[in-house]
Structures are given as structure tokens and as C-alpha cells.
């Protein structure tokens, strides 16, 4: 009798210890993530650069670096969601041009910044919606759909802008340029926005059902569907989110440069996808890190900046971005093989 109660007690203990056990502890888990290693690469590059160039660690240079990558960081946050579903969005770069033009036209006509912003985001949402519907409901491959959309959007931007540059933003011009170009407490506004968005995405990926379901779809869309997750609607929402991030980046970027042409954002999708993948996203889907997006974007900008300061011709920039992209994917492959 006593034996039995003792036996039961130890069973309960074992069950409890199994329940709370985990393959790897919190810190070890962080060590295994790609964003962590990319962050280490950033620190290393920073240390090296501080010896190479006196200018590197100046406030001015830091300010420039962070502001420059914030635009890509914001877009990469949205791209992470798309890539998490094993999709891709090639239309974000040209969408920056179109939404920038739309914002410019609305504000130039004197409608003010609120309408400019709303028009920008609605345009972005519409493009995301079309992408999403074609991919989710008509089961078309994301690569082809968004490649086509890229071409359509570039063309639309040319038509809508009548191939003219816009540099007059009407009555709210000062506020518009302040948002995109100025800073609060020494940190550029766009960086603040990126930080807030990153925090929001971090929360979404960790604590929201939307985030959980997107990750599930990336892992096994069929299983997600069988579990009652509205897979098609989720995929549409993911492409809308990605486009909205591009729209937001465009809105800020136009404010920063103080002018917009329909060529703005051209080929940005490559940098954004590179940043997302360097930040740990897996093109096979199912993996996402909120922090990966800004970290990946930061590394790319840092490479650009370092080459510049080290006196290496800017022509080499794309070479190194490509190199890092390949190394990042290679490292992930090696880690995955080690884990299996």
C-alpha cells in the first residue's frame, strides 16, 4: 500500500519534470538562432571598422547607418511574414515607387498628409490583396505572381506620375519631411518606427494567433488546414501585411529625400529579401524572427558603409552583399545538418 502511494508520487514527479523539460534551455536556444550570429558578425565588423576608420564610430555615421537600414528593416519585417509561409514577394521594390508617387500626387494636390498616408497605404493594400488572392485562392506560384505584379506596378507608377518628379508636397510638406528625415532624442524617426514595428512583430509572432497560424502554415499548410485554420485568408493577409510595410517605407523615404520619382525603390526587393534571409528566414517556410529583419538589414548597410569608409569602390558593394547572403544560407544548412 505504502509502496503504491510512493510509486504514484514519484510518477507524478516524473510527469511534472517531463512537462517542464525542454530540449535546449533559453540561452542555448538563442545561441542556435541565425539572428544571434548575424548580430555577432555586425559587432565584429564594427570593431574592425573602428580600427580602419576614424569616422566610423562618429555619431553622424551611426545616425546615417541606422537611418539608411531602417527603410529596408521595415520592409523586411513584412517580407519575413511572406517568406515564413514559404512564399516570396518580388513586387515590394516597385511598390515603393508606386506608393511614393501616389503619396506625392495626393499631397502635391494639397490634400494634406493624412490623406496622403491613407492613399499610400490603400494602394499598398490593394496590390497585396491581388497578390494574395492569386496565390492563395488560385494556387498560383508566388514567384510568378509577384514577378508579374512587379512589372505591372512599375508601369502603373510611370503612368500615374506621367514620368515627372514630384518635390512639392503641399501644405503639410514640413511635417512630412520631418517624419521621414528628422530625429527624436538623437535617433532618426524612421529608426524609432522600425523599433516599434519590430516590437509589434515580436509580440505578434510570439503571442498572437495570427502569428502562430502563419508559422503553422509555413510548417505544414495541409495540417494547418485540417486543424481548421483559414489558410487562404491567412495567406492573403500575409501579402497585404508585406505590401503595407513597403508602403510605409515608401511614405517615410519620400519624406526623407524630399522628392519622388517613379524609379524609386527599383531593385529594392533584392536587398529586402537578402536582409530577410540573412536575418534567419528560411525560404522553405516555417521560420521567422522579428529581430532577424532589422539585423539582416543592418548587416547589409554596414557592409555598404564599411566599404565606403575603407575606400573600396562602391562597385564592390553588391558583391559582398551576395557573398554574405550565400554564407548565411550555407551556415544555416550546416547547422540544420548538425541538428539532425
Amino acid at each position: 500500500m505504502t509502496d503504491q502511494t510512493h510509486d504514484q508520487a514519484s510518477h507524478a514527479e516524473i510527469d511534472e519534470s517531463i512537462t517542464s523539460r525542454q530540449e535546449v534551455s533559453g540561452f542555448a536556444a538563442i545561441l542556435r538562432t541565425q539572428p544571434f550570429w548575424v548580430f555577432m558578425a555586425i559587432l565584429t565588423l564594427g570593431v574592425v571598422m573602428s580600427f580602419v576608420s576614424d569616422v566610423f564610430f562618429t555619431e553622424r555615421n551611426m545616425f546615417n547607418i541606422t537611418r539608411n537600414f531602417a527603410f529596408f528593416g521595415i520592409m523586411a519585417l513584412g517580407m519575413s511574414a511572406v517568406i515564413c509561409t514559404a512564399g516570396i514577394d518580388l513586387s515590394v521594390g516597385s511598390l515603393v515607387g508606386l506608393t511614393g508617387i501616389v503619396t506625392g500626387l495626393i499631397m502635391q494636390a494639397g490634400y494634406g498628409i493624412e490623406l496622403g498616408f491613407i492613399g499610400c497605404m490603400l494602394t499598398a493594400a490593394a496590390v497585396g490583396l491581388v497578390n494574395g488572392i492569386l496565390i492563395a485562392y488560385l494556387k498560383m506560384p508566388p514567384f510568378v505572381v509577384t514577378l508579374g505584379m512587379m512589372s505591372i506596378v512599375v508601369s502603373l507608377a510611370r503612368v500615374v506620375s506621367d514620368n515627372k518628379m514630384i518635390y512639392d508636397f503641399g501644405p503639410d510638406m514640413d511635417l512630412f519631411e520631418w517624419i521621414g528625415g528628422e530625429s527624436v532624442m538623437g535617433v532618426p524617426n524612421v529608426v524609432w518606427i522600425m523599433i516599434v514595428l519590430t516590437a509589434v512583430f515580436w509580440w505578434v509572432w510570439r503571442y498572437s494567433t495570427w502569428g502562430r497560424w502563419v508559422i503553422a502554415i509555413g510548417g505544414n499548410a495541409q495540417a494547418a488546414k485540417l486543424s481548421g485554420i483559414p489558410v487562404e485568408r491567412m495567406i492573403v493577409s500575409v501579402y497585404v501585411v508585406c505590401s503595407l510595410c513597403a508602403g510605409l517605407a515608401a511614405f517615410l523615404f519620400v519624406g526623407y529625400t524630399g522628392s519622388v520619382t517613379n524609379g524609386m525603390g527599383f531593385t529594392w526587393e533584392l536587398t529586402v529579401i537578402a536582409a530577410t534571409v540573412i536575418g534567419g528566414a528560411n525560404l522553405m517556410g516555417g521560420i521567422v524572427f522579428a529581430l532577424g529583419a532589422p539585423i539582416g538589414a543592418a548587416l547589409i548597410e554596414l557592409i555598404r558603409n564599411s566599404l565606403l569608409l575603407a575606400g573600396i569602390p562602391a562597385m564592390w558593394q553588391q558583391f559582398f552583399v551576395g557573398l554574405f547572403l550565400i554564407i548565411a544560407v550555407l551556415l544555416e544548412q550546416i547547422r540544420n545538418r548538425g541538428g539532425k
Binding site: E16, Q22, W203, R212, A216, G219, A223, S227, G286
Partner: protein, 246 residues
């Protein structure tokens, strides 16, 4: 009145006739074994009951009312839970996340609803313990053994209190000890008035827990007998076709 009643269910995939005029009844508190050769149509029948796809012809009745399921969620809402043969798990999520997939536990903090990890870990831990499975709720399914994965899929059906549990080869990859636990679970389900359909190639399992056994051969039901009126030899004969029908 039976809990589930299938009337001449037919299913064709193009030229393939996976099921032809299958009738089946299951009552509350009853377990029915569904046996048949590979490709006989067992999984197809399970998926029709679980709302994965509609039958080409035929009717499904639950407690006497005809139902049409346009998606798995409809079947779940009608009180049907299923363990799929391929388990249908997301490898990149934890065991607990898989158990709760599509019906996550949430808690409210101010205006925000957020995932309630604590509740999900605890509840799935309890479900695994009930199955005597050493499955850790926090582990990713990717790194789990076949038996642990099966435990996750079975634990999922225990989240609600369904009327009917469909198990498509739930004991295919697991150890003797866990087979015993799954069989014990089926017995408990019966005692508490649940109905179970067990698809299995393991004759002893079916004869241990089922009240009836139905045999499918090339999409047609060739036998439906009480367990105490048949024998493993007869069922084997029916499956292979050595015995035409019974």
C-alpha cells in the same frame, strides 16, 4: 439510434473508385474496427467522416440528422475528432502548439488577447501523461520519435469531448507499452459513452477493444460482424479475399 450512420457512401477520384456503396453504423459506447488491405479505402472513409472531402454519393447521419461537412471544422463542431494516418503535424511547432493548433488557449490582458503558453503546456502535459507518453510539451515535433508524434496526434483528440473518435492506425509506430495505453484509452472512451472507429492492421488490437469489425475490400464493405461471432482467421480471409463475404 446510432451515433453515426453512413448510407451507401461512394467516393471516386477520377477513374479510381476508392469507395463503393459503403454502409456503416456506430453507436455511442461502441468501438468498430475497420480493416482491409492497403488501398482498400479505409483512410478515404475516415477522411469523409472527418470532413476532409465530401462523398461522391451517399449520406452521413449523426444522431439521425443528415449532415454535410464542407470542411474539417464542421466535423469537429459536430463532435468528431480524428487521428490522421499521416498525423498531420507541423514539424516546426512544439508538441503543445500542435495539440492546440487551431484552437489555441488565450488569455486577455487589457484589450489584447494573447496565447496562453502556461495553460497549453500544462494541459498538453496532462494529456501526454494520461497516454503515459514521455513527450515534452515544449519540444519541437521535428525532433520527436514516431511514437511521440503519434502521442501528439492522439492528445489532440482529447482536447474537446467529442462524440466520435476516428483513429487511423494510431498504433502503427509505437511501443508495446504505448499500444497498451492507446487501447486502454479506447476502452475508457467506450465506458464514457464515446464511439470509436479504429483502423488498424493489427488483428490483436482490434479483437481486444472493438465490439465489431468491418472489412473493406477494394472499396466495398465485405463484412460487418460482432467480434464474438468471428475470428482472426475469418477476418484475415475476408481481407485477402480468400473468403468472399460474410
Amino acid at each position: 439510434m446510432s451515433l453515426l450512420e453512413l448510407n451507401s457512401i461512394t467516393k471516386s477520384f477520377g477513374a479510381i473508385h476508392a469507395l463503393q456503396g459503403v454502409d456503416l453504423e456506430v453507436s455511442a459506447g461502441e468501438a468498430v474496427g475497420l480493416m482491409g488491405d492497403n488501398g482498400a479505402g479505409k483512410s478515404t472513409l475516415m477522411k469523409i467522416i472527418a470532413g476532409n472531402f465530401p462523398p461522391t454519393e451517399g449520406a452521413i447521419r449523426i444522431e439521425g440528422n443528415e449532415v454535410t461537412f464542407s470542411q474539417p471544422l464542421d466535423a469537429r463542431e459536430a463532435g468528431i475528432e480524428i487521428v490522421y494516418q499521416d498525423l498531420a503535424l507541423c514539424d516546426n511547432l512544439t508538441a503543445a502548439a500542435n495539440v492546440f493548433l487551431g484552437r489555441e488557449a488565450k488569455k486577455r490582458i487589457g484589450p489584447f488577447k494573447m496565447l496562453d503558453y502556461k495553460t497549453m503546456y500544462q494541459k498538453s502535459g496532462e494529456l501526454f501523461a494520461e497516454l503515459k507518453s514521455e513527450t515534452r510539451p515544449r519540444d519541437l515535433v521535428r525532433q520527436m520519435s514516431g511514437g511521440q508524434r503519434q502521442a501528439v496526434a492522439i492528445a489532440r483528440t482529447r482536447l474537446s469531448d467529442p462524440k466520435l473518435v476516428l483513429m487511423d492506425e494510431p498504433t502503427a509506430a509505437i511501443s508495446v507499452r504505448q499500444v497498451a495505453e492507446v487501447l486502454a484509452l479506447i476502452k475508457r472512451l467506450k465506458e464514457t459513452g464515446h464511439a470509436v472507429i479504429l483502423v488498424s492492421h493489427r488483428m490483436p488490437d482490434v479483437f481486444e477493444v472493438c465490439d465489431r469489425v468491418a472489412v473493406l475490400r477494394r472499396g466495398t464493405k465485405v463484412a460487418d460482424k460482432r467480434i464474438d461471432e468471428t475470428s482472426p482467421e475469418e477476418v484475415t480471409g475476408l481481407i485477402t479475399g480468400a473468403i468472399a463475404a460474410a
